[in-house]
């Protein structure tokens, strides 16, 4: 049996990757993957699963003397409740620009922070607000109504009183 000697390799040839490098790289990458996964686990914590905010539903009594189209502002809530010939409706008073509280004015609403203006139906007429004020869900009859600040209804959806 003849043994063919290996041709002498150039010292410039790349060295073959030894098996231990494979194991070493695998262990480094598995350590990196484990740390990455633990990071994802930690990132889950700051996103609250249950929000500690008070109930968004509340009861409001509309006085009979409330003029048509005039806003009633329930204290501690960020909606304006209206009654006109079409019925009862509630419009959010949170500016869609940066969350300031808008003020009802005869021409609609006005935001004190950056000067956005809204028409009486909540649509934007001026300023940086990107979308119209949201209409909130209203239910009830007579003079007692339930407003749900957490539920949005299409603009123009009035509930007959």
């Amino acid at each position: 049996m003849t043994v063919t000697p290996k041709p002498p390799g150039s010292r410039l040839d790349p060295e073959p990757v030894p098996r231990r490098d494979v194991l070493g790289l695998a262990s480094i990458w598995s350590a990196a993957a484990a740390l990455l996964f633990s990071l994802f686990g930690m990132l889950r914590l700051p996103k609250a699963a249950v929000l500690s905010s008070p109930s968004k539903k509340f009861r409001v009594t509309l006085p009979d003397t409330l003029p048509a189209g005039e806003a009633l502002l329930p204290p501690g809530r960020s909606v304006a409740v209206f009654r006109d010939a079409g019925g009862v409706y509630a419009i959010s008073t949170i500016c869609t620009h940066l969350g300031c509280v808008v003020k009802p004015i005869p021409e609609g609403f006005e935001c004190p922070c950056h000067g956005s203006r809204f028409a009486p139906d909540g649509s934007v007429t001026k300023g940086p607000a990107p979308v119209a004020l949201a209409w909130r869900k209203v239910s009830g009859s007579g003079s007692t109504w339930i407003v749900d600040e957490g539920a949005t209804v299409p603009a123009g959806a009035k509930v007959a009183s």
């Binding site: 500690s52 008070p54 509280v101 004190p112 922070c113 950056h114 001026k126």
Partner: protein, 517 residues
């Protein structure tokens, strides 16, 4: 006659050691003796974990007043002041709505020196914002961001952002009207990607804005959860991040070969005064041959240490001087002017006008055109542009020189004129004639978001900068123009936001014209 038996040697040794203990504690704390010779001055620096962020020797160019104006050390000093005063304030501050406000009142009116400490804290924070911005301008205008200092420029930008974030989270804590509405506005800026996702109608499936707001506030309303989160950012996460970044920043200054200086700095400085800076007053115990194998153009290789002086005392005394000046400035400002504290937060009534501290009023002016572009889009583009500068400007001319590079000071002067002029004109048009919403009420929201005075201004600056690159055939010229314009725009927007905006963010020439309540 009997003599007293001598005390056993162990006892004598014990007493002698006890007597010598204080001296030895000092000796062992400072690993070398008094820094009187070149060698002990060196060991004084590299034997100390804090000082060794400096190099052992400092080039004489770096010690010139006009090289740095001490701005970097001034911002570090301001940070140290806020650190000390901030810890003091934490003795009394309670991060819970309403209780926070009451504790601020306590600090203001009851706690011994409380008002003074809070004033210092507030003024040091302001000084820090100013010096960080000026320091950045210094590094830019002297072209000090170039190779090998590119990455340190990025770290510096991280420091700028962290500083602003610290200021923002700081003025939220008193839970007064300013704080409450600033949190509200800040959280809604975080939510403002909805402006785009709403226009595209994809918010239902893809809502990064809502997620950011939720994580920032920990709730869907601004309340106790939000306050404790901002408190955590302010007293723990951000200061730690800032301290780590500062350490790396300083370390990189040393590793990148000290401060940038012109190629002919040595000729311009002339020979060192003979007796003043003795070098190697004793036989060196170390050789500097290792320096010869350092790769790249490390400034010291082949030039020798001739124009350097020991950092101890020359650099450290200068730094101490800057620290003392900063302390004095903060103390005087704190004596002259009280930190503001408005009424207790009232979620029903925003302030009118609701104004952030001065350094955010430029941003507020931008968000008054579009929340997303002003609050996130343009700042991100500006940060991206600033971060890319050292990687786009790979030139060498003018490094270490004030306004160095093609164009020089005349170009900067022209850019100041253009930067101020363009921002004033764009603002004047928006104020006098309104913008797209007033001209075309039916324009789609995406157009209103993307084309607003802020983006138009940014576009003008960008086009001007591109034109400069072509005109001077130099990326540095474009960078000089862009950065100058950016500073001018920041200035104009800040001034307009501070002095010329009244209730409902309407333009007024003077607060005297504001309508009464």
């Amino acid at each position: 006659m009997k003599t007293a038996a001598p005390p056993p040697p162990a006892m004598r040794e014990f007493w002698e050691n006890l007597r010598a203990a204080p001296r030895r504690i000092v000796e062992t704390a400072f690993r070398s003796g008094k820094p009187t010779t070149d060698r002990t001055r060196s060991t004084f620096v590299f034997g100390n974990v804090f000082l060794h962020l400096h190099s052992v020797r400092t080039h004489r160019w770096s010690l010139r007043w006009t090289t740095t104006m001490g701005l970097g050390i001034a911002s570090l000093s301001a940070f140290l002041i806020t650190l000390v005063t901030g810890v003091l304030l934490m003795f009394y501050y309670k991060p819970y709505p309403d209780a926070a406000y009451v504790s601020m009142k306590d600090i203001h009116f009851v706690v011994p020196t409380g008002r003074f400490i809070r004033n210092i804290h507030r003024w040091a924070a302001n000084v820090m914002v100013v010096t960080v911005i000026l320091h950045m301008a210094r590094a830019f205008f002297t072209a000090s961001y170039r190779k090998p200092r590119e990455f340190n420029w990025l770290i510096g930008m991280g420091l700028l952002v962290t500083t602003l974030a610290l200021s923002f989270t700081g003025y939220l804590l008193p839970w007064d009207q300013l704080a409450y509405w600033a949190i509200t506005i800040g959280a809604n800026i975080a939510q403002s990607p909805r402006e785009v996702t709403d226009s595209l109608g994809i918010t239902e499936w893809f809502d990064p804005g809502g997620l950011q707001r939720l994580i920032l506030l920990g709730s869907d309303v601004v309340g106790a959860e939000a306050l404790i989160r901002f408190y955590l950012w302010h007293v723990m996460i951000l200061p730690l991040a800032l301290a780590a970044l500062i350490a790396v920043h300083f370390w990189r200054v040393r590793k990148d070969g000290g401060l940038a200086r012109p190629a002919d700095a040595d000729q311009r400085l002339g020979p060192p005064p003979g007796e003043t800076y003795p070098i190697f007053t004793e036989a060196p115990a170390k050789t500097y041959h290792l320096a010869a194998i350092v790769r790249g153009r490390t400034p010291l290789v082949g030039r020798g240490p001739e124009n350097t002086v020991p950092s101890m005392p020359h650099l450290f005394y200068a730094e101490l001087g800057v620290l003392m000046l900063t302390v004095c400035l903060c103390l005087v400002l704190a004596l002259v002017s009280d930190a503001p504290l408005k009424e207790l937060a009232n979620p029903a009534v925003p302030e009118n006008p609701a104004k952030a501290p001065w350094y955010f009023l430029g941003l507020q002016e931008l968000v008054s055109f579009s929340a997303f572009m002003g609050g996130l889009g343009i700042p991100l583009v500006v940060l991206l542009g600033l971060g890319l500068i050292p990687y786009l400007d790979r030139e060498e001319a003018g490094s270490g020189e004030w306004f160095g590079g093609p164009g020089g000071w005349p170009l900067v002067r022209a850019s100041i004129a253009l930067g101020l002029g363009a921002s004033v004109v764009v603002e004047a048009v928006a104020i006098r004639f309104g913008w797209i919403r007033e001209w075309f009420p039916k324009a789609p929201q995406l157009i209103v978001t993307l084309v607003n005075p802020g983006t138009v201004l940014a576009l003008i600056y960008a086009l001007y900068s591109v034109w400069l690159v072509r005109r001077y055939n130099s990326a540095r010229a474009g960078a000089l123009g862009l950065f100058t314009c950016f500073l001018c725009g920041f200035l104009v927007l800040t001034v307009i936001g501070t002095y010329f905006r009244g209730p409902n963010w309407v333009f007024y020439w003077s607060p005297a014209d504001w309508p009464g309540h």
